[in-house]
Amino acid sequence: MMTATGSINGHSVRKPWLRRLADASEPYLYSAPSLILIIVVMLVPLVIGISYAFRDIQLLNPFSGGFIGLEHFRELSKDAAFYGALKNTLWWTGASVALQFAFGLVLALLLDKPFWGRGLVQALVFIPWAVPSFLAGLNWAWLFNPVIGPLPHWLFGLGLMSQPGNILSDPQYAMWGPIIANVWWGIPFFAITLLAALQAIPRDLYEAASIDGANWFQRFFSITLPFLAPTIAITVLLRTVWISNFADLIVVMTGGGPADRTQIVASYIFTQAFKALDFGYASAIALVLLVLLLAYSMLIILLRQTLLNKD
């Protein structure tokens, strides 16, 4: 009888403490699985990768691996190839995104109008996006090759080229090769996302606007564009980040050549890491690229917020 009371007493003393612990830790326990997963899958590799930037890691040098502080960044600040790659990245990303967006928007506007066989065309339009980027790169490299590809001969026939040569080996125009391949490959992304946004615009708004006296261009600028703006902002942001990181086509088509004329930062990282096998230096470049892209994303998000608030 006494022991029973004692144990009950003991419980009544211990229970609130356990309860309090359970109550306090409950939210952490619930979120623990996803937090652990995020830390293991995202943060740990990121931190290790960033740490490489401050260490001397060269695969072929068994004595490397030590902490060297900002040595890589000092070296990088004097690396002319890096500045060239940075300039090429701007050129490559700007031209690719602008052209992909422009053609994607035109395609989306065309596909928004009902016509016979639209469903089939919409499906076909998506095909380039489904082609593996390496295959797309090889394919376009061959198309530009005067030995097997028709393009140089057509350009020559049109008088745009003095002789049917390979633009990929022409330092002046080599960058246009991967850009054209990238535009071909990336149009579907813009076309499909913009088409989805277009189809979400209520039709009666266009009817109301046309009764209010708006012609096609006025309807486009006062209804279509404001409705598309959020989608445009987010897709352009995403594509800019992807494309500036996207080295596949360049590695396959030109390998950064001729004379680094098509070397972008992403392909420079690839070259440093897997050709020069200097992982430390490659990580330092990657870190700089990451910071630049983060700054860019912040800028776009700020811009979008102010635009949305202004509305």
Binding site: P202, D204, L205, E207, A208, A209, S210, I211, D212, G213, A214, N215, Q218, S222, I223, P226, F227, D311
Partner: protein, 352 residues
């Protein structure tokens, strides 16, 4: 403001014909209501006048000018949509001034026009808001405001009150009527709601199956419906119909009993008739005269009482203001005053 003439207007989508030769003359300043069940072509007709649908055959003239091939923007009409179709990214003031800005009107003039429209509709405190921050009734007002800021040749309304609750609908209906009284603008109003049609219209155009059934003042349609469709469509609860034949100089119901009615002179012996009488015109008798009917259901509406009866096995309705009807059970006697009986021939056309 302008008159609108519609001549032999037809519309078909592929092989499906939706409107079959519509003729309609709308006078300057008139309020016309197109009414009919869904699918009767009333909205299509309105959209063709607006220019949102092409014309398959026939002609539409606004102020005497053929507009068949004009774009909506060149027809100088304003339209209020069922969904309101307000521009969500523009403020109320910008929504209302959009058409004026497109016409490159001077800023000061736009300000004056918007302010006067806003004061007519009580929208002044809302001018800077976005449509999504407005209630349904306020959005409806903005849609109206957008139509009245410029003085168009005509106003088109496509079921503008359908998305409002009953109380608000009643209020907006009165406001639309008042506004038409002020502006005297030619208006075409599409609705399936006969109360809206009856209360608003100078003339009602009753449509069914892509054909105009009757054009006339609300009371004309109520008192002298041209055919069975209009008789059944206008009025609530709907008109009662009884099958009858003309034999031996009088009208005989199916059960063989005769009924007194005002007969037209030209009627063929033995021809089939449909006899119609509105529920509010049926008289409940207490002196034993009339016809016997079984009471099946009693619906009090507050204002009056609807009795659902069975007369010779046919459903039959009576509307009465007499509250004693709430207590009736079993069978009652009803009679049909001959002056309220509508007669239709076997093609459904009114004959008396």
């Amino acid at each position: 403001m302008a008159s609108i003439e519609i001549e032999k207007l037809e519309k078909s989508y592929g092989h499906v014909s939706v409107l079959h030769g519509i003729d309609l003359d709308i006078r300057d300043g008139e309020f016309i209501v197109l009414v009919g069940p869904s699918g009767c072509g009333k909205s299509t007709l309105l959209r063709m006048i607006a220019g949102l649908e092409g014309v398959s055959k026939g002609e539409i003239r606004i102020a005497g000018n053929r507009v068949n091939d004009l774009h909506p923007k060149d027809r100088d009409i304003a339209m209020v949509f069922q969904s309101y179709a307000l521009y969500p990214h523009m403020s109320v003031a910008a929504n209302m001034s959009y058409s004026l800005r497109l016409r490159k009107m001077a800023k000061e003039k736009i300000g004056v026009a918007v302010a006067s429209a806003a004061s007519k509709l009580g929208l002044e405190p809302l001018l800077e808001r976005r449509p999504k921050a407005l209630s349904g009734g306020q959005r409806q007002r903005v849609a109206m405001g957008r139509a009245i800021v410029r003085q168009p040749k005509a106003f088109l309304f496509d079921e503008p009150l359908s998305n409002l609750d009953a109380r608000l609908r009643e209020q907006m209906r009165a406001e639309i009527k008042k506004m038409h009284g002020d502006l005297k603008a030619t208006s075409i109003y599409v609705t399936h709601d006969q109360i809206e049609a009856m209360t608003l219209a100078d003339r009602i155009v009753a449509m069914h199956g892509g054909v105009v059934q009757q054009v006339g003042s609300p009371l004309e349609l109520y008192d002298r419906p041209a055919n069975l469709f209009v008789a059944g469509f206008i009025g609530s609860p709907g008109m009662n119909f009884l099958e009858a034949t003309y034999a031996g100089g009088s009208v005989k119901l199916k059960d063989g009993s005769g009924i007194e009615a005002r007969l037209p002179t030209s009627i063929q012996e033995g021809s089939g008739l449909t006899l119609g009488i509105r529920p509010e015109h049926v008289v409940i008798t207490s002196d034993g005269s009339g016809r016997r009917a079984a009471v099946e259901l009693i619906e009090p509406t507050g204002f009056g009482i609807i009795l659902h009866l069975s007369l010779h096995g046919i459903p039959f309705k009576v509307f009465t203001l007499d509250r004693q009807a709430l207590a009736v059970r079993g069978e009652i006697m009803v009679s049909f005053p001959p002056e309220y009986i509508h007669l239709f021939n076997d093609e459904g056309t009114r004959i008396g």
